[in-house]
Every structure is written in structure tokens, then in C-alpha cells.
Symmetry: C2
Subunit: 266 residues, 2 copies
Amino acid sequence: MKLTAAQLDQFHDDGYLFLPDWFDADEVRLMKAEVPGIFAQRRPENVRERTGDVVRTAFAVHTYNPVFGRLVRHPKFLEPAEQLLGGTVYIHQFKINGKAAFDGDVWQWHQDYGTWAADDDMPEPRAMNLAVFLDEVTEFNGPLFFIPRSHRRGKLAAGHDVTTTSYPLWTIDHDTIARLANEGGMVAPKGRPGSALFFHCNLVHGSAPNMSPWGREIVYVSLNRVDNAIRRFKRPEWIAHRDFTPLQAMGADCLRELAREPAALR
Amino acid sequence: MKLTAAQLDQFHDDGYLFLPDWFDADEVRLMKAEVPGIFAQRRPENVRERTGDVVRTAFAVHTYNPVFGRLVRHPKFLEPAEQLLGGTVYIHQFKINGKAAFDGDVWQWHQDYGTWAADDDMPEPRAMNLAVFLDEVTEFNGPLFFIPRSHRRGKLAAGHDVTTTSYPLWTIDHDTIARLANEGGMVAPKGRPGSALFFHCNLVHGSAPNMSPWGREIVYVSLNRVDNAIRRFKRPEWIAHRDFTPLQAMGADCLRELAREPAALR
């Protein structure tokens, strides 16, 4: 499950790595089938859109759902993360972002580390996101927009946006975005369900609203190096976790074996 | 300047025709240079975004600006329009849509004929739009989304949306959009400045907000067959014109000769 030297170089150069079909169809089907039951729950971890009664983000699903409890320990995520971050890691944040058909709203331009530093006092940008598409991501359903190489600028000045969406975020001003995008360009990785996106916690990204009739669910696992644990606990535990125990990888079949033995799920 | 039989068939089948580089670089440069002066004007024809003090739509520019006064009579627009609509035509509406960097807002799913029938009492869908890109249109700056073949469904039921944007529009419900898009798919024509898009007045379309740092100006000329003139005049004349005189084409060089002799402009 390890990344090649060329892949590691690409991540460090561009700030991200796109891996089409990283998870197989059985693994995706297993995960996808869990989502309606998760989104139907009325719980604080499920943040809804301002524009409609649909889930924008379901946090901390790995703490109560056995399928996603295995995904976070899957060697396809964990081995690359340890390579890229250079040490053992723990789960800082877990979310499923819904980006629902018609209602999925904008994510303004931001760096994740901006929020993790400002709100959680994470010492250094030694963290990253590992994402897997549960739906096909197209140009129509609000793909992520990345500004390649923007992670090399370190943490950028940001303002706390508590008005434009239903979830507070430290966002970056327009002049900075224009300068970075005119230098680095912009990319929008698209692909089939099961494709994975790994990206640096300082990579500047955002996504437009989804005005298409096709939903676009993406799972994000944010891993942080164990020796870089957060030092402020003002946000709920389900947004910024406080269990700094190093994650242990499961077997490569950890999801597929659940698909074969669904009874073990319940 | 005439379209081929294959192009006519494609328009009638799909509801649109995309013509890369239909206008040349000199013509685009001439038009593009006019826009800042037009957008800077405080006049009722310039509708601003709800999200910022930037122009969403500049109506009726052809009535006071000599460059766009020539564009509407350019044979590259007028000859195809007469072929496609099967008769002489007049200008029903003219607009430059700004879709400004960062602030350019959504256009919800709609048919133009829905508004022209409901508000202006246009008898039949014998009208069309001819658009030219003044900027490069990419996946990042809010391209038009078309649902191919949706024009064959005739006028669809619509509701009057006076809240989600700064400009009132008759928009189509989500269930209908989902059904049409699952049948016909979705396309987003993209290309260099000077590229043209011709589309039927019943083709369902919309566009997402522009969260990129790159503006996206498109000129839209809406032509209607002279024998299909509107019968209700409740909207301002600069939104729904009342001069039903058949347009006469100018020469193929009508824009380029202004580029060569800018003094003639003033």
C-alpha cells in the first residue's frame, strides 16, 4: 500500500496526490450503503446546510460506525499517511461531506491548517487529509478546487467566516487567492467512486455549490502526527479529537471482509 | 457566415451549437475594451449582484454603445439566426453578463422562453440566444451548464424566483431538472475568448457562482422572429425591446473596421 518515490515527490511538490480507483467497487458499495442511515440521524455531529435540511458534514462517524471505523485504519490510508508525514499518526478529524444535489453549498477558500492552528492550537502543519469519493465527482457537482503548490507558502493570514455558510471557517482573502492562483493555476480532480485524494493541510482549496441533481459525498480523514498533537480543546471533541494514540493499521482486506460478512457489522 | 446542414441538425437535435473561436482576437479585444466603461456606469440597465457592488447584467448596451451596436448586426450572428429561426429577426434582449471574479452569483435552472412567455407574452418559442465569450470560460469561473435536448420538452412549468439572486427569473423545480438531466446528461461548453454559443430559447440552462479569481464576461443577444413579437409590455423597454424592425446585417468586417479606425467610435 506504500506510495512510490515519484508519488511522494509529487505530493511534496504540488501539495496533493490524486489516486483514481484507490478503493475498489466492493469497498465503495459497503461505505456508500452506510451513508443514508448516518445522515438521517439527528445528532450534533451532523451539521446541516443553511439552504436546506440536508447534511453538509457528518463528523466523527468513525467513532460509532464500524465500516468507517475500519476505513480510518485501512492500510491504503494509513501507510501513505505515515510515509508522507514521517511518523505515527492519530485522527484529528473525520467527516463525510454531503454536497447534496441542488443544496450542497460553497466551501470558501481556506487551508485546513488555518483552522486547526487558530482554533485547536496544532503546533505545526504536520497533518494531512485523506479523502475518498463515494460518488463520481464531475465538473457539475461541486468538485474540490485546489491551488497547486500553495501549501509551500506556510500558514496564510485568514479571517473567521461565520456568515456565508452554516459552518465557521478561517478563510483567505481574495487578493491572496488571486495571487496564488495566477502563479500556481487551479485544478479540480474528478473521477469515479473509490478514487482518493491526499492533500497537505496547508493546501489552499474550496468548492463551489452543487447545483446539479447529482450528490457528491466525499469522506475526509484528517491525520496528524502524534508528536504534533493539539493543545487547545475549545471545540467539541467530535470536531477536534483528543485521543492521540497512534493508529494501528488493519489488514488490506479489512473493508472487503465486512462486505463478505455483513453480520459482523451489527 | 452560414451554418452547414450538419450544424443546423445539431442545433435542432441538441438545442445548442458551440463554435470555438467564432470571433477573432481583434474583434474580441475591441469588445472587451468597452466593458469596464459600461460596467462603471450607474444606470438602471446595469443590475448589480446581491453579494457585492459588481455588475451581474448590463442590459441594452447595443442601444448606446457603437461596438455592441455593430455586434448585433454582425453576419456571424444574424445569418445563423435567420437560418435557425426560419425568418427575419429583431432584438428581444441584449445583455453582458459579468459573472465577476469571486462575486459572480448563480443563475438558477431556467428556460429563457419561460420568462419571455410569462412576462412578455411572446407567442411561440421562435427565439434564440447568440452568445460570445469575452473571457476564457473554464470549469472554474462559472461556465453555463446545459441539459442537451431539454428544448424538445416545450415550455416547462416554472416558479417565479425573486429571492435567491438579484434578478427575478422563472425557474424550474428540482424534480424536473433531475429527470431531464438523467435523460439528457449535462454539458458545459468551455473555450477561448471569441468562442460562440447559440442556443434555443427552451434549452434548460443555469450556471454556478464564480468563486475563482478570474472574471467571465459573456455577451448574449436574444433574437426573436419578427412575426413572433411580444404582446405585453410590463417590463422596462431595456429588458424586453419593442422595436420589431427586422435587423439588417452589416458587412463581415463591421467590427474589424472599428478596430482599425477607433476614431469612428466616438
